[in-house]
């Protein structure tokens, strides 16, 4: 089956030549691996942009109004290199926008989802290669629109990444945000289209294109996570898209979906009315809470695979892991109101959301215990991917536990919109997801490029990142306990917060160290891509299907028809002499193929 498709692909390219061939192979490619790498490179570049925007925020908080070194004078010569309060709102708005919409979501689903799904299920490509190509190329209008928004004075959208109306919907509310905010909305809509195209493709591919023998309960956790994530995207995204269009119409056509009547904004009467600001918050969080899981579930899946591989031991509780991911996804749809406990929403409704939110902590706890169970009794190899994955577990514990504080509604009254929240979601998204992403890059890099990344540099990168990120984010819990609010350009005039500047300076210095440590990663990545030691198909002695394909896999992925005999976690199986047991390896004579009736799972 796969060989015929390989031939068909080859024939399709043969009749083009020269530039056309190059463009169709590497630019408008329909090969899932090229598209995955396109996503990877684009998102890593945006990661740098997002990180620099974060440093802008940190510098303002550490030394308010003293301006940014080096870039400050270039950007705002007029203000003597100072960050203006308007630009400060742009900094945190764009930091979040870039990190969420241009980095985390597309790097997980776009880069790893694309690259890994066909390889790990034994397919030659995605179900809809053209759709797949479009999902990447719809990111470019988004890049362009949001990139453009920076060039309209005063320097971009400043309504927060949550874009709460009326601030974001009424032109007069944020002077100068006219075009940037509109472009921002259009840009986010394009990201939505891209995600939607991807998710339809992932669902279909995982359901339809699994290799013979690859039952649903033999799928690696990475694929389960991508599958559930795709479902979340498909059901939640239309709501955000609709809400985005409504806000767009509020801005350009004065529809007033989110604008109540009688507003006096900036001394002028804002038009129309008849809307409700809370409506936006409901619609926005109906997507953006599930999006939180879109930003963590694939990381959990990849970490499960990596930890099992380097513990040389089966994943503990495979099915409970699958059920917890599904549980998180299901509950994830009925907890959005926990972002709105103090928004003015009906407090009794708040209680309902509170109970659901408390309960969603449960599957996360189950996952943590199962990771610990996987490590228990294994033979651990502290490779770079393993270190990053372990740090995911260690940090996710912090991010998960701090979530309980804000799920408790009375406590949330105090810590809502403070740095406690900022600490919480950075523990989940940076020290959690971003660590998993680094781990996954080190792990699958040899498959992607046929070369190893340098382990020593990788460990140095891990160590420095680990230390600096904790120095950066951990103390934010303390700031939050003090009540230190988010998004204040200069908080130190408040008596309550006037003593927090030294701690903020400490955090900023750690943040600079954290960003600087990524130079090691960038260097290692680029060097290894071209000059790293070449590897064979399976450098980590791992079980997954992707490790039976050539490194890097050619067009059509497999040079043989993979047939799957068991789940992906049979490390240390007594059936074989090696400490791993690839999914495609036929069982030795005399042994019944295991896993026929899923009893390998327990």
């Amino acid at each position: 089956m796969s060989s015929t498709i390989v031939d068909a692909h080859a024939g399709e390219h043969a009749h083009r030549g020269g530039v056309g061939a190059f463009i169709s192979k590497y630019v408008f490619s329909r090969d899932h691996k090229i598209i995955g790498l396109q996503f990877l490179f684009s998102t890593l570049l945006w990661f740098l942009v997002g990180g620099l925007l974060a440093l802008g925020i940190r510098i303002q908080l550490a030394w308010p109004w003293e301006g940014m070194p080096v870039i400050g004078p270039m950007l705002f010569a007029g203000e003597g290199g100072q960050i203006s309060p308007e630009f400060y709102t742009t900094l945190f708005t764009m930091h979040a926008t870039v990190m969420i919409f241009f980095v985390i979501i597309p790097i997980l689903a776009g880069a790893f989802g694309n690259y890994l799904i066909p390889l790990m299920i034994g397919a030659d490509d995605m179900a809809f290669p053209t759709l797949n190509m479009l999902s990447y190329w719809f990111m470019w209008p988004a890049f362009a629109l949001i990139g453009m928004s920076f060039f309209f004075p005063p320097y971009g959208a400043g309504g927060g990444w949550t874009s709460y109306p009326p601030l974001s919907a009424v032109w007069e509310a944020a002077p100068g945000s006219h075009w940037p905010q509109t472009l921002w909305l259009l840009g986010v809509t394009c990201v939505g289209i891209s995600s939607m195209l991807g998710s339809v493709n992932y669902m279909t591919t995982i359901i339809q294109m699994r290799a013979p023998g690859m039952t649903m309960f033999r799928l690696p956790m990475t694929i389960w996570a991508m599958f559930i994530t795709a479902i979340l995207q498909a059901f939640a995204l239309p709501v955000l898209t609709a809400a985005g269009f409504m806000q767009l119409l509020d801005r350009v056509a004065g529809t007033g979906f989110f604008v109540p009547e009688g507003l006096v904004v900036n001394n002028s009467i804002a038009a129309s009315g008849g809307g409700q600001p809370l409506l936006w918050q409901h619609l926005f969080w109906f997507y953006s809470h599930p999006a939180v899981y879109i930003m963590i579930l694939p990381a959990m899946g990849m970490v499960s695979d990596i930890i099992s591989c380097f513990s040389r031991k089966p994943l503990f509780g495979y099915k409970p892991m699958v059920f917890s991911i599904s549980g998180i996804a299901g509950l994830g749809f009925i907890v959005w109101g926990h972002h709105m406990f103090v928004s003015g929403m009906n407090p009794i409704l708040g209680m309902t959301f509170m109970v659901a939110t408390m309960m969603i902590a449960l599957p996360s706890a189950v996952k943590v215990f199962n990771w610990l169970g996987t490590i228990w009794g294994g033979r651990l190899y502290f490779t770079t991917p393993m270190l990053f994955s372990l740090s995911f577990v260690s940090m996710f514990i912090i991010g998960g536990l701090s979530g309980i504080f804000m799920a408790a509604t009375p406590v949330d009254i105090f810590i809502h919109d403070t740095y406690f929240i900022v600490a919480h979601f950075h523990y989940v998204l940076f020290t959690g997801t971003a660590m998993a992403v680094f781990g996954a890059i080190y792990f699958w890099f040899p498959k992607m490029f046929g070369r190893m990344m340098n382990e020593q540099l990788g460990k140095l990168h891990f160590f420095l990142t680990f230390v600096f990120m904790n120095g950066t984010f951990y103390l934010m819990h303390i700031l939050g306990a003090r009540g230190f609010p988010r998004r204040l350009a200069d908080p130190y005039d408040y008596e309550t917060f006037s003593n927090l500047q030294p701690m903020n300076q400490f955090i900023t210095i750690c943040a600079i160290g954290m960003v600087a440590s990524q130079i090691i990663f960038a260097g290692n990545f680029i060097y290894s891509m071209f000059w790293g030691p070449t590897v064979g198909r399976n450098p980590w002695r791992a079980n997954g299907l992707e490790w039976t394909a050539p490194s890097p896999p050619g067009h059509g992925n497999f040079d043989f028809q993979p047939i799957v005999y068991r789940g992906p976690y049979e490390y240390g199986s007594p059936e074989v002499d090696t400490d791993y047991y690839p999914q495609t390896q036929p069982p030795p004579d005399g042994i019944e193929p295991t896993g026929k009736s899923e009893h390998t799972d327990h």
């Binding site: 928004s343 003015g344 490590i375 403070t418």
Partner: protein, 281 residues
Amino acid sequence: MGRFWSLLFLSVPVIGVLTFVCAMGNLWPMSGGSFSFPADHWLPVNVSENGAVIDRLFMFILGLTGVIFVATGIALFFFLWKYDAEKNAEPVKFTHGSHALEIVWSVLPAAILLFIAIYQMNAWADAKLRRPTETIGTTEVPKRPLVEVTGRQFEWRLRYAGEDGEIGTPDDLYTVNELHIPVDEEIVIAIKSEDVLHSFFLPNLRIKQDIVPGMKQFVWFRANQTGTFDVVCAELCGWGHYKMRGRMTIESREKFDVWLDKQIEEQERSEFTPKAGDEDE
């Protein structure tokens, strides 16, 4: 190297707990150094009754999560230390999981989480549902607000009832950013916005309520200590969000009445003209 990495992961719960201890007790080791953290990095002084309940809940959750944080952190360290392939010759435990354990570690957290969920409901209801009442004639009605706070870019406009005790009449008193509250009384404050979202945040009273234009909302509390405290805007409201700063004076009823009378007098003397944007709706 396995030893080194194990210890690195052990440092997470150790330093993690120590940081909180330092914050609670002002025990920062670097005091005096280039990063001398001054005192007060913990919950700001609480001066309200429901605030004390919220603080206790915070500390309860901190203790509970602290125990789980330390226990899981130490388990992680112990497994890393013990099962390091370089040091450990034992064959791996070839197991795919355990039903019994899965049940234990699902039911136990579920019970704890459910307990927290139910345990806190009362404090939430006190803060957001049970508005104090007063008796007018023979009927019990929701207590009328002492002051109406209007958020606008970028200041707090306050409006106290005049002689007649009703807000919205011509004898109202107007001030900006300066909130006065009598101590030891049930206080209701009406809050509204005339432009964008704001959030009325009184850190020392553990009060926070987003202000939504088009909606009139109420917060209530009973302050039990006098002093001057911050009024913070906690919801992004534009470029000047950071400077939307007010002050709240909690004082005895006598002092409050004196202040109010003096303000009314001054307002009348400077010809009674409502400030722009404060016309009655």
